[in-house]
């Protein structure tokens, strides 16, 4: 057996007698399993619930009686965002964003009913998910278990004995690292099994599951390197522990939190109310699409008359009210989309700023990668909103076209007529089906964060190699 493996085996033997290590491992394993089961159950329940509600909303929309199409447009429709299967592993920002959109004419509503707004304050503190446990708690356990892997030898005097057997100091450090990696593997195992189960049961694609597995393995490798390095550099175990706890606090807690706050102050976002006021002001300036004689639509009317070669709207072969509704919806949607895009662009600028700090805190890089691959990041949420908006726009415009094609202008302007059309029209409308990002696209978006993690790994591995090789020189 090679000296590196022999040292690792002996370190394992020492770890197996270490109550803190064994109890910590047991606790973390139980926590991860409970979190995985809980998250999977939550996802299953939420998904079933949303599916049921979606089906109910589809039925209610389709089963409207014969009525005026514009009433149908104002009756509205609900669409629900299905949960990505990997949200059970990393819910990302899902708990903070809404998952229900109410679609109606002339309005672009935001998503509602985020879990956080409906839950206790405990959820705001942090959800107990496999991702949270691996990102936050697992490094802490590695710190407590491994901080003295080399300092213990130094403090007890056995380091000199080890080295005097003809070992290279790099071999000693590698042996310690290998043992800690084995321990980290056990820490990762429950989450890994949960991930593999998601893929094997056909709920999630293999590619993102494998990427997540590799990313979290890299994350624990990174911490194993950091812990071994600190234990190599510090003379006393107590100093290594303090140094590592400080590092954990900064990298895992303070920097991610501080950088988010910093991004919020550097790239300021308008409040929801400010935005609503601006939108409403511009919306009013667009004209009232319910009134065909609104002066804001005069130019549009002239163009239509010219297009059809007639001189009055009464002569048009189509219902001008429906055309105005179509034009009004086009204008208002452009306005809504512009504001929505501005807000999303600001949020993406904030995210981009936060992402750049991934070079300083690998936690940020891992979170970005994990959320992106799990489909629970901002881009995925935006993707849902944009699809919902496209569905809303198509739905309202279909109804506007029905109004202009199926009802005459004369009837439509007669207050004594109800102008109902057959419900068969909206029964034929397609249902909303959310299409998540294709896997390859999600993986491509996660690549920069992956590169940051790899850079951290390379830097720490080099440092460990360099300083570990000098271990013998530091022994007195």
């Amino acid at each position: 057996m090679s000296p590196v493996r022999r040292i690792a085996r002996e370190e394992w033997r020492a770890l197996s007698r270490d109550r803190v290590a064994m109890l910590g491992l047991l606790l973390l394993t139980v926590l991860t399993l409970v979190a995985a089961l809980n998250a999977a159950e939550h996802r299953r329940t939420a998904d079933a619930e949303r599916g049921r509600y979606q089906s109910q909303a589809n039925d209610e929309f389709a089963n409207q009686p014969d009525r005026h199409p514009h009433r149908v447009a104002h009756f509205g429709h609900f669409v629900f965002r299905p949960l990505n299967p990997l949200a059970a592993f990393d819910p990302g920002i899902d708990a903070y964003t809404g998952h229900t959109l109410f679609l109606e004419a002339h309005r672009q509503n935001g998503a509602n009913f985020g879990d956080v707004r409906q839950s206790s304050l405990l959820l705001r503190f942090g959800q107990l998910t496999p991702a949270f446990i691996l990102q936050v708690l697992a490094p802490l356990l590695l710190v407590f278990v491994g901080h003295n892997c080399v300092t213990r030898e130094r403090e007890s005097g056995t380091l000199r004995v080890l080295l005097s057997q003809g070992l290279g100091s790099g071999q000693v450090v590698m042996g310690k690292l290998l043992a800690l990696l084995g321990f980290a593997g056990l820490v990762l195992l429950p989450a890994l099994l949960a991930l593999l189960w998601l893929a094997a049961s056909g709920q999630a694609a293999w590619a993102p599951v494998l990427v997540l597995a590799c990313a979290y393995a890299a994350w624990l490798l990174l911490w194993s390197l950091l812990v071994t390095l600190a234990s190599t550099v510090f003379r006393r175990g107590r100093d290594a522990l303090l140094g590592l706890l400080a590092t954990w606090t900064v990298l895992v807690i303070l920097l991610p939190r501080g950088v988010s706050d910093l991004a919020g102050s550097v790239v300021a976002m308008p409040t929801r109310f400010e935005n609503a006021i601006h939108v409403e002001r511009e919306y009013q300036a667009l004209g009232n699409a319910h009134r065909p004689d609104d002066p804001k639509f005069a130019e549009f009317r002239d163009r239509i008359l010219e297009q059809y070669g007639v001189t009055s709207i009464e002569e048009l072969p189509v219902n001008f009210k429906g055309l105005v509704g179509t034009e009004g919806e086009r204008r208002s949607s452009e306005l809504f989309n512009r504001y929505a895009a501005e807000v999303f662009d600001l949020q993406e600028r904030q995210n981009h700023l936060v992402d750049q700090y991934g070079w300083l805190s690998p936690t940020l890089a891992l979170r970005r990668l994990s959320m992106t691959v799990a489909g629970t990041d901002l881009a995925s949420f935006r993707h849902f909103l944009e699809q919902g908006e496209q569905y809303r726009y198509d739905l309202v415009q279909r109804l506007n076209r029905l109004q202009s094609g199926e009802i005459t202008y004369a009837d439509d302007t007669d207050p004594d007529k109800e102008n109902r059309i057959s419900h068969a029209h909206w029964q034929a409308f397609p249902d909303f089906h959310y299409q998540p990002f294709p896997v390859d696209q999600a993986l491509r978006r996660a690549a920069p964060a992956g590169a940051m993690l790899l850079a951290w790994l390379a830097a720490l591995a080099s440092l460990t190699w360099l300083l570990g090789g000098r271990l013998g020189r530091a022994v007195r």
Partner: protein, 261 residues
């Protein structure tokens, strides 16, 4: 003859070098070595040569540079000048090769407390690539004088003497050409010291070069072939054993006391 000690002085570092040990080649060799920690100079122009089957005792007061001399051969301290060799290997440039030819027993023998005597030796032999089964280990432990009932006991409860026996057993099992001992008899009672010195006789008979740094003049006089006096990082004087009485202990003691003063 040296008037002060009544023993043959083979050479003085001050006078320009020490003669080689009694073997044909030197196992441990330091030539004009300067070394220290940072700005602090510890060893000055140290010349030391120890041949196979020779026991060399290096005496000196606190801070004389005794432990630094051991660290020099272990490659833990890099000389700023001069040359150090362990069986022909440079401990700084070739630490692994040099350490493979050394066994080292520190003042307080550090062992793995949760392992038994046999497991400690097995583990360290395995790391040195010299594990040849438990029988060989048992033979080494017995040769080192450890009682059979202690082989499977955890070393956490061992006395200093028992720990040293485990370390000696490791050195015996490794068949290394050189052994470094740091204050081996400090804290041992006279009987344990005598037992330890007889063990060193065994090592000498096996052709192992032994360098022991010690305060224990009587033990050094009992077992060493040569005794060197180190002061302020300089090897001031060397005395070789001579005749049946080996050393004039009274003269050595006076010399040592003068130096310490």
């Amino acid at each position: 003859m040296n008037a002060d000690t009544g023993n043959a002085v083979t050479a003085s570092a001050v006078d320009g070098g020490v003669e080689a040990g009694k073997g044909a080649g030197n196992v441990l060799e330091a030539s004009s070595v300067e070394a220290g920690y940072g700005e602090r100079s510890i060893l000055r122009q140290l010349d030391l040569r120890i041949g196979p089957g020779e026991i060399y005792a290096l005496l000196g007061g606190n801070g004389a540079g005794k432990t630094t001399t051991l660290s020099l051969f272990l490659g833990f301290v890099e000389p700023t000048a001069g040359r150090v060799r362990v069986d022909g290997f440079d401990p700084v440039a070739q630490p692994v090769q040099a350490r493979r030819r050394l066994a080292y027993i520190p003042e307080n023998v550090a062992l793995y407390e949760h392992l038994s005597a046999r497991e400690n030796v097995a583990y360290l032999l395995d790391l040195a690539g010299q594990y040849e089964g438990d029988e060989a280990i048992d033979r080494a432990l017995a040769a080192a004088g450890l009682q059979g009932s202690a082989f499977d006991r955890r070393v956490g409860g061992f006395s200093k003497g028992m720990r040293q026996k485990v370390a000696i057993a490791l050195a015996l099992a490794r068949s290394v050409p050189a052994l470094l001992l740091d204050e081996p008899t400090s804290g041992l009672d006279p009987q344990a010291t005598s037992e330890f010195n007889r063990l060193l006789d065994v090592l000498r008979d096996r052709g192992i070069a032994v360098l022991m740094v010690t305060h224990d003049l009587l033990s050094a006089a009992d077992v060493a072939d040569r005794i060197g006096f180190l002061d302020g990082g300089r090897l001031l004087e060397e005395v070789a054993a001579d005749g049946e009485d080996r050393f004039n202990v009274r003269a050595l003691h006076r010399r040592y006391a003068e130096q310490a003063a």
